[in-house]
Amino acid sequence: MGIFDIIGPVMIGPSSSHTAGAARIGKYARRIYGVHKPFDLVEIDLYNSFSESGIGHGTDLAILGGILCFSVDDERILKSFEIAKEMGINFKFNFKGIDEDVGENACKITFHNNGKSFYVWGESIGGGLIHISNINGYSVSLFGRHPVLIVFAKDVPGIIAHVSKIIADAHINIAKAEIERDSSVSESLSVFKLDADFPKDKIPLILENKNILEVMTVERLEEL
């Protein structure tokens, strides 16, 4: 904690959890999916307090604003529905009501593209802070405070060694790493939280290993 966590953030009201946190979940989910990657439809499922009192708090406007990459203090959040429509972005909100299995202020954001879907689960944990708990069925624990490298791969030995060698060669420290496997399809997801942005020109080096299916880099939320 620092002084600017107390005197701040500068944000669009009315609620740090239901508005500022909601916008950050949207923005971070979009960064995980890929800021430049197109999609046909983004679907947002709202749960618990997000579903029950989201409208009055502008939670829907804020999440969509975040998906449009607006920051928590960007007044365009108020007009995010109109702006999305002007940009030709299709979006749909589903108010899912109460579900005790997910967080108090939780949402699932699904990007649909060409019949494929990609989803991220996020929750607003108070004071505008967020937690991303799941990416496409893999449990993760991301707070947006580190640059992240995400690797989808076949569940075979040597993936971590291969990737961590390339990270080391780029002179970047790994703050934390998480590995999750999905045994039903024999695939895995590795998340590397880094101390610096992973250079995009090194991604082809990672993909030289034919067991690696997809690599994504996610910038940190600069305001956190």
Partner: protein, 296 residues
């Protein structure tokens, strides 16, 4: 080397050891801990101050109405009424405090741009009290920036000893904390005496111990916005007492701990759930029902 403190008394001791006024000491603290230049953190606070000032100006431009329809141009009414009739119960300055606080809290409820200080629900208190006093007294900008660091330092003590969440400790930890932070910050505009800062903060918090968090429907509108006005007025009164030389017999840290203990005893209905207190009244339930029917 980083500076650490775990309570207001530790902050006071370290600031006094540095021979710097509290605000200047906290600028050093923030710069060292974030690995930045003092100029960097000063200019960041300058931008934060600008955002606060803009929230007052925008909030007074017209009638603000919220999505629920509860907020209905209150700040604007105070502004127009006092102008039209030149009527002030106390003075123009006092009306200014009320009007500016309402303006910022209304901006928050109406999805305007505000500074959460320490929370969005209590965002009217610091601009409404500290900024209004500073402007009326012609205080220099750099001094106001330092006072915001003082407010932040006091807020950190709350965070370390208790919490700034209405859901945990009720409104005493939101508007109460904001009022306490503002009281100390106002004193720091006119005095470098850290005991005076501490006393003002302690007075303001003692005055609102036990205050529950009971927003209708969970929306930061009723009773929150008018409670911000209470917080601003309470901050100024507390600062006036401390500047007059009255000193708190109970240290601020102990008052914060008392707040925490009270917060822990508050039932869940009175901690931001929108169930008890004002939110639990028959009329509140009716108002909420009307809004929900309109929305669907």
């Amino acid at each position: 080397m980083k500076i650490k403190f775990r309570s207001f008394s530790e902050l006071k001791e370290k600031a006094m050891g540095s021979n710097l006024p509290l605000g200047k000491f906290l600028i050093q603290y923030e710069a060292l801990n974030e690995g930045k230049d003092p100029d960097f953190v000063i200019s960041r606070m300058d931008r934060t101050l600008t955002a606060m000032e803009e929230s007052i100006i925008k909030g007074l431009k017209g009638r603000n109405t919220s999505k629920t329809g509860f907020v209905d141009g209150w700040a604007y009414r105070v502004q127009e009424f006092s102008k039209d009739f030149n009527f002030h119960l106390l003075s123009e300055e006092f009306t200014e405090v009320i009007k500016n606080t309402l303006a910022v809290s209304e901006m928050n409820a109406c999805m305007g741009r505000i500074v959460a200080a320490p929370t969005a629900g209590s965002c009217g208190v610091l601009p409404g009290s500290l900024l209004t006093v500073a402007k009326l007294k012609g205080v220099e900008r750099n001094k106001i920036i330092e006072a915001l660091f003082v407010a932040g330092g006091i807020g950190e003590a709350f965070q370390m000893l208790a919490s700034l969440s209405g859901a945990r400790h009720g409104c005493q930890a939101e508007v109460g904390a904001a009022s306490s932070m503002a009281a100390g910050a106002i004193v720091s505009l006119f005095s470098d005496d850290i005991d005076a800062v501490e006393s003002a903060s302690a007075f303001a918090l003692k005055n609102v111990l036990g205050l529950v968090c009971d927003p209708i429907g969970g929306f930061v509108e009723i009773p929150c916005i008018k409670r911000n006005v209470m917080g601003a007025v309470n901050a100024i009164a507390s600062a006036q007492m401390a500047l007059s030389g009255i000193r708190t017999l109970i240290p601020l840290d102990e008052v914060i701990i008392a707040m925490k203990r009270i917060g822990e005893k508050l039932p869940e209905e009175l901690r931001e759930t929108g169930l008890g207190g004002v939110a639990g009244t028959e009329t509140a339930k009716l108002l909420l029902k009307k809004f929900k029917e309109k929305g669907s």
